[in-house]
């Protein structure tokens, strides 16, 4: 392969590492840097630039809220408030017990169902703030215990 094109594999390799481990570990960065003959700093720079890569391990359950325009005008900010209040973490973080990761995305393109919450890959459409807690308790009963702590 043409030498400058070798680096073109970088994002692909990072996707692979993230799929395998759930996040990009320091070891993965070192290994990829060696493979592509670039510095670890350069790999790190790319990892932190893109939202799709995480340097931290993710929670057991992934809660994703769509923050696209259609969801926004249909009340997504109220859902975000409620998710953050229930999980007691801001968007982008994982609960200290490692159960839930809360993240927002800019649009999943299922606008007819807005506002949308995706819990572990399952879509929940036209969610109302008062339904949020039930959605979460359904996937993990430990949530109530978490709240009491």
């Amino acid at each position: 392969m043409m030498e400058p094109r070798k680096r073109g594999q970088l994002i692909h390799l990072l996707h692979q590492a993230q799929t395998q481990e759930g996040y990009i570990s320091a070891e993965a960065i070192a290994a990829i840097a060696r493979k592509l003959k670039i510095s670890e700093g350069e790999v790190f720079g790319v990892v932190t630039f893109y939202k799709g890569f995480s340097l931290k391990p993710q929670g057991k359950h992934k809660v994703t809220l769509c923050m696209g325009t259609a969801c926004h005008v249909r009340g997504a900010p109220l859902i975000l408030d409620e998710l953050e209040r229930t999980l007691q973490i801001p968007a982008g973080e994982t609960t200290p017990d490692g159960l839930f990761t809360l993240e927002t995305v800019n649009c999943v393109g299922a606008c007819a169902l807005g506002p949308i919450v995706i819990v572990d890959g399952e879509y929940h459409g036209q969610v109302k703030p008062r339904e949020v807690k039930n959605l979460l308790v359904k996937v993990d009963e430990n949530l109530d215990r978490l709240k009491e702590q």
Partner: protein, 633 residues
């Protein structure tokens, strides 16, 4: 199997099929997936097996039909019977009644909300009948994971024509003559772009399909990749032949897993059929195509950023010129077009530039797919000829505003576009009229807003988006979008200053003129258009601490009207923070200090009672003062 004669293959595919067979086609777009359409597909397969109908009835999962509002969608072919909101429980009835007995299941038909009339056939539903689905129409007919389905609807005929009957210059001439303009947003003439790239002399040339569809609320590119990926591939091979490119990339957003999957399958199948790779269809032309999955950065939709991303770097844009057509991927001439643009190419070749250029307006030819979303009755993807008015799209195709509310504005062009007010509903839509209105076509997002949408908050929303997505390379965009966002946030909190109006305008101009790439150059559009058309809303927030749409949390209160409350305890039980007090059959009261303004009380208060109201401005202050006085007593 390498094929050399596409016409023969088409015949073979069609003849190999049992024409008497009934097909149950289920929409398999992301929207319908979210509704659970795959369970419906499984239920059909089981039911058909159970009833021993496997030889006479087939189930086909197709691409997006566009009418997302009514999903999961099922169409029984060849009759074209259209069922909507189909659940697993409806499957036995459909198989028994419609498939076996050829009767209609009334309750699953679409009813016209005005006339209440049930409509049997897909093409008669007003949502579809007003459209012109020349690009998007095949989505509902083909299984995107089976290349033979595409070939059966004249797929790859255009490629054969190009390879054996046309020179590269003739292809470019045809595309130029058609007047096709780039569907990614800026609307540059596609044929001209190709010509510039063709004229460059270089040992290698690349081709890119930009499927990094990042505008929130726009998903037509995804639906094309998911639903008819071969049409995009065919367009790209034709483009490669015209330009002289030997290798291409399709850059897809990582948020679109189904699109990545379907386009990957499509490329493999095209390769197997000899439509990609060495000597395509037995000609002397060779072309290779790869899928590149993005990693979540809005700015990578900008062409120079996108190329940086493919090269394995951070998606920073760079100064133009040199344009990608001169110096693109790894320094070689590169032609980038958007998904929808590529999908237009085979059609133009098949039907001719003269036919194509008859559709649309003087300066914008053909159709455009819009994603009609927000506070609209019929959410979905609509393909209409350029020049149609906003009113026709929103009221005739979209069925008007949700819950009979009043239309306020439509936002087009995503974070780069602007908000168009009710006075301009009769504006014929094309590239130039939208730009003149201060907005832009963008990739075709159309977000409808009603009286409950606060326009200052909408501007704030978009600036929050762009300031987060700004790559940080140039100062005007990095700092300017941040400052715009902070001023707007302050205004929505009721902390705006009279000078803010001028500040916003000045700053917006600086960001527009001083930014390096399209992201920054267009980021202030949502601010500028809302300032232009909805200045009174800004003034209400700043001078009267009032949110006319009753949407900005810091400027409103929820209040239980004592004379209306029946004391049913519903709101009290549903309040997530325990801010409501009261006893059964006694008037409930919201503690304004504790209230987080989630709206749960308003939401659960029975429609017959409607005791919960929202107040802003003067009225809000009056209520707060009254409550304060009562507490003191």
């Amino acid at each position: 199997m390498k094929i050399t004669n596409i016409e023969k293959l088409k015949e073979k595919v069609i003849n190999s099929r049992d024409k008497t067979k009934t097909w149950v086609t289920v929409c398999g777009g992301t929207g319908c997936h979210a509704y659970g359409c795959m369970k419906v597909v499984e239920a059909f397969q089981e039911e058909i097996k159970k009833k021993n109908l496997v030889d006479t009835v087939g189930v086909r999962t197709t691409g997006c039909h566009g009418f997302c509002e009514r999903g999961p969608l099922v169409v029984i072919q060849p009759e074209g019977i259209f069922y909507q909101r189909v659940g697993v429980d409806d499957v036995p009835a459909i198989v028994e009644e419609t498939v076996v007995n050829k009767k209609i299941v009334e309750k699953l038909l679409y009813r016209d909300p005005q006339t209440k009339q049930a409509i049997i056939h897909e093409q008669d539903v007003p949502f579809y009948s007003k459209q012109k689905r020349i690009i998007f129409g095949n989505n509902g007919l083909i299984d995107p994971t089976d290349i033979r389905d595409y070939i059966a609807v004249d797929g790859y005929q255009a490629l054969a024509k190009v390879l054996f009957e046309m020179t590269a210059d003739e292809v470019i001439e045809e595309i130029k003559k058609s007047g096709l303009r780039g569907r990614g947003g800026a609307g540059f003439l596609t044929g001209l772009k190709w010509e510039i790239c063709r004229r460059e002399s270089a040992p290698i040339k690349y081709l890119i399909c930009n499927a990094d569809e990042g505008d929130p609320g726009a998903y037509m590119d995804r639906s094309l990749l998911e639903g008819n990926p071969q049409s995009v591939i065919e367009g790209m091979i034709i483009g490669a032949y015209a330009i002289g490119a030997t290798e291409g990339f399709i850059y897809v957003r990582m948020e679109y897993p189904l699109a990545v999957k379907n386009i990957t399958i499509a490329i493999e199948q095209a390769r197997k059929f000899g439509l990609l790779g060495e000597s395509i269809l037995g000609s002397e032309f060779s072309f290779e195509l790869h899928v590149f999955k993005g990693a979540g950065a809005f700015v990578s939709g900008e062409e120079t950023s996108l190329m940086a991303s493919i090269e394995g770097r951070r998606a920073f844009p760079r100064q133009k010129p040199p344009f990608p057509a001169q110096k693109g991927l790894w320094g070689y001439p590169t032609n980038i077009n958007n998904v929808e643009t590529w999908a237009n190419v085979p059609l133009i070749i098949n039907k001719g530039a003269d036919w194509y250029s008859k559709i649309g307006t003087k300066s914008s030819k053909g159709t455009k797919i819009f994603s009609l979303v927000g506070k609209i009755n019929n959410t979905g993807l609509v393909e209409v000829p350029m020049g149609i008015s906003l009113r026709e799209i929103i009221y005739e195709i979209g069925g008007g505003i949700k819950d009979n509310k009043k239309f306020k504005a439509v936002q087009t062009g995503g974070p780069s576009g602007g908000c168009i007010p009710a006075e301009m509903l009769d504006l014929p839509i094309d590239f130039d009229t939208l730009t003149k209105a201060g907005s832009m076509m963008g990739s075709g997002g159309m977000i409808v807003m009603d009286e409950d949408t606060c326009m200052v908050d909408v501007a704030r929303y978009f600036l929050q988006f762009t300031q987060e997505e700004s790559c940080g390379k140039c100062v005007p965009c990095r700092l300017g979008t941040r400052q715009l966002y902070e001023i707007l946030t302050r205004i929505t909190k009721g902390q705006g200053e009279p000078e803010d109006l001028k500040r916003l305008k000045d700053l917006a101009k600086t960001v527009k003129t001083g930014s390096l790439c399209g992201l920054g150059q267009t980021a202030p559009n949502p601010v500028l258009t809302t300032l232009k058309y909805f200045r009174h809303e800004y003034e209400a927030h700043i001078f009267r601490h009032e949110c006319p749409a009753l949407s900005c949390k810091d400027l409103i209160i929820y209040y239980i009207e004592p004379e209306k409350c029946v004391g049913c305890l519903l709101c009290l039980k549903n309040c997530p923070v325990g801010a409501i007090s009261g006893e059964r059959k006694q008037v409930h009261v919201i503690d304004q200090e504790l209230c987080v303004k989630c709206g749960a009380c308003l939401d659960v208060c029975p429609p017959k009672v409607r005791a919960v109201s929202k107040y802003t401005g003067k009225k809000k202050q009056q209520i707060l003062n009254k409550e304060k006085k009562a507490r003191r007593r």
